[in-house]
């Protein structure tokens, strides 16, 4: 892209964001406080909770939940995915369950999880896990199964054992697919986090939203939402960066 076009693009993006902020601000001035708060009030509220330390505490609580769920999802998804890709009968046996669970909106399972596991930290981690694990699992299986048969043959031709085959061929080949899974898991895990904080024991940023809504503190509620939006944007960027970082050879076709 030529430099002028890049500048034009940047100016368009900046204007769009400024216009959005202005609309938010003006709409907030005219609407009832109970429904809508202007941007200035929202930002003021955000600074307020940040100063009081509430924000940091709640954000950390959310993040703890998020990272715990995501970590378990990534580990389970990657290992189980590799195993299923390599062990045919196990895949055939579990495939339908995986597809069913992948297709299920996970929110539908939350009341069930609540009724059997109650209100602790563990059921919330489970919710984040369930949201995040399937893209990870699915992409890993697809990746590991798409390894070029010729490369497996090369390994066998050079007398590679199964363990070396995994280290030299299966894992490096699957890694970029896992990163795609991770990017999707990062996004879905965030949804899981907020859902868990809403429907199980309220905590973290989800609790801030709920409390803001119940107390007609619209500015406080929007502040928490804004924070989650920014968090989501940041995490998506991180996911895309990871995906690119691990796949310089993805387009390679001899």
């Amino acid at each position: 892209m030529r430099p002028q076009r890049t500048w034009l693009r940047r100016i368009t993006i900046a204007s769009s964001l400024v216009l959005g902020a202005v609309v938010w601000q003006v709409a907030g001035q005219f609407a009832s406080d109970a429904f809508w708060a202007p941007l200035s009030a929202t930002l003021a509220s955000l600074v307020g909770v940040a100063k009081s330390g509430v924000l940091l505490r709640q954000a950390l609580s959310s993040f703890e939940l998020y990272l715990a769920g995501l970590a378990v999802a990534v580990a389970v998804g990657a290992l189980l995915g590799m195993l299923l890709a390599r062990v045919g009968w196990l895949r055939v046996a579990l495939e339908d369950y995986i597809m069913m669970l992948y297709a299920t909106p996970m929110v539908a399972l939350i009341p069930f999880i609540l009724s059997i596991m109650g209100f602790g930290f563990a059921p919330k981690v489970l919710v984040v896990f369930l949201f995040a694990v399937f893209p990870m699992l699915y992409n890993t299986i697809e990746g590991a199964r798409s390894v070029r048969p010729e490369l497996v043959e090369v390994a066998r031709s050079f007398h590679s054992g199964e363990w070396r085959l995994w280290c030299d061929v299966m894992i490096p080949h699957t890694l970029p697919f896992m990163m795609t899974g991770l990017r999707q898991a990062i996004a879905r895990g965030l949804v899981g986090m907020v859902a868990a904080e809403f429907f199980l024991s309220p905590s973290g940023l989800g609790q801030m939203i709920m409390m803001g809504s119940q107390n007609f503190d619209t500015a406080g509620m929007l502040a928490a939402i804004l924070l989650i939006v920014l968090l989501g944007v940041g995490l998506m960027d991180l996911g895309r960066w990871l995906e690119r970082r691990f796949a310089p050879w993805r387009a390679y076709q001899p």
Binding site: R148, E150, L151, E153, V154, R156, S157, F158, H159, S160, R164, D168, V169, P172, H173, L175, P248, W249, A251, Y252, P254
Partner: protein
């Protein structure tokens, strides 16, 4: 390291003077209902270069993979240096049609692959890798990845990887089938030069009649459904084979001979409809 392997291979050939490097007897291959080839008998000697040629789908590549131990024969027997082949084994290396390079490994790491699996020490690997990369003309490209270099260079890398393990049998599955015509010619002559420097038993599959005549000591023509050895053409062209070889009248004669042998079959195969 090389000296040791040399002595070993000399000893093996001396102990069994009459024994061919590879002996294929009554070999047959069947996938479910389809018989691919049957009753193939072939002895391949030490330092002999054998080209396998035949119409598409005649099982050339399958036969080569059987020799490498990647596939078991469904009937008959295959012996390497007197021992039945039951799986991939030391002393045999394969060059793959689509190079078979690992895209996440550099040229040097790809060349080192077989040596690493063989459990050689780091110093020995480094020395051997440098030597083989030099040999195939890839010096200076050690740290490039396969997706950064041309098809010809990729196959040079595939060749270096196979040569690095000092095979007594080098198998090649349409080694230059995936590169353009000019590169193919360059690589053919380079391979011939390398072979002159370190002659080994070489078995290669090709679609190119010229390539078979230029490189082979014998050409095995597979034909029929299921295919069998239709003819074994002795290529009595002098070595070393060079560009000049292409201009010999005998070269043209042999090429015409193989061509006419294959022609009718190739036409039939082209118009064949899957049932």
């Amino acid at each position: 390291m090389r000296a040791a392997t040399e002595t070993k291979s000399e000893r093996i050939s001396a102990s069994a003077e009459a024994q061919p490097r590879i002996r294929i007897s009554r070999a047959g291959m069947r996938y479910d209902a389809a018989q691919v080839f049957r009753d193939i008998d072939l002895d391949i000697g030490n330092r002999e270069v054998v080209a396998i040629i035949g119409p598409s789908g005649c099982g050339k590549t399958t036969l080569l993979r059987c020799i490498d131990g990647l596939l078991p024969l469904t009937s008959g027997e295959l012996r390497l240096e007197g021992e039945p082949v039951r799986g991939p084994r030391e002393g045999v290396a394969m060059v793959f049609q689509h190079f078979g390079l690992f895209p996440w490994k550099t040229v040097a790491q790809n060349v080192a692959y077989g040596l690493k699996l063989a459990g050689r020490g780091a110093d020995a690997i480094a020395a051997k890798v440098a030597e083989c990369i030099e040999l195939v003309g890839l010096a200076g490209f050690e740290h490039y990845y396969p997706w950064q270099i041309s098809g010809g260079m990729q196959q040079r890398c595939g060749l270096a990887r196979a040569l690095a393990v000092e095979p007594r049998v080098l198998l090649m599955d349409e080694p230059f089938g995936a590169v353009d015509a000019q590169t193919r010619e360059i690589l053919q002559f380079e391979l011939l030069k390398i072979w002159e420097m370190r002659p080994t038993t070489m078995v290669f599959v090709t679609h190119s009649i010229e390539e078979a005549v230029l490189m082979g000591d014998r050409i095995v023509v597979l034909k029929g459904r299921p295919s069998t050895v239709h003819e074994v053409v002795e290529v009595d062209l002098p070595r070393p084979r060079e560009r000049r070889t292409l201009t010999l009248p005998r070269f043209a004669q042999l090429r015409e001979h193989v061509w006419s042998t294959l022609m009718a079959e190739a036409l039939r195969a082209e118009y064949e409809v899957r049932k």
